[in-house]
Symmetry: C2
């Protein structure tokens, strides 16, 4: 079953989070298997610290923190403290869910 209205609201919430240019830039940085000079593994994503994600965006640390919290709340990114820093990454399964919303399918909704 899984309530259609609820699903729509949940997905809208994800897109709203991606609807800010700063947040989208950080998200896109995370949708990455490797960076120049690292070993590439196409089945997992790269990990960045909070301040690495904010690099180049010219926003205050408090704003940066607010945006990442928002991405995390929407279920778009994972975060875990590791000593002094906080690591951020993306779960590939979440990407597949998002891609599926842009696949043309027969319409069987209400």
């Amino acid at each position: 079953m899984s309530n259609y209205r609820f699903q729509i609201e949940q997905h809208a919430d994800m897109f709203k989070a991606l609807g800010n240019p700063h947040r989208l830039a950080m998200f896109r940085r995370l949708v990455t298997c490797c960076t120049p000079g690292t070993v590439c593994d196409p089945n997992s994503t790269f990990r960045y610290t909070v301040s690495q994600l904010g690099h180049g965006l010219e926003i205050a640390p408090s704003t940066l923190s607010h945006h990442l919290k928002e991405l995390n709340r929407a279920g778009l990114i994972e975060m875990r403290r590791n000593g002094k820093i906080v690591e951020c990454w993306i779960e590939p399964a979440m990407l597949e869910t998002l891609r599926s919303l842009f696949e043309i399918t027969p319409n069987n909704q209400t």
Copy 2:
């Protein structure tokens, strides 16, 4: 080349448009090849009129119009007047662009 900042802002604008539950519901209705009782063609999308898209959403006509204008402005939907009604549909190429933003790739940005 194609300015990275500009691209991000353009894409963020699309996601912002999808970030409203009413707009996402209408967009999803359009990401459809057929409805029950119609002939299915997986390579093109179904066309709806403005009021068909608003059906079931319980919003004023002015709000409906505002939302569709927003989706159109962001480049997510096409609209054309056909007599008394306005037809709305989606271009499949646009869907492919959006899907690609959720594919894991090597990072070569700034």
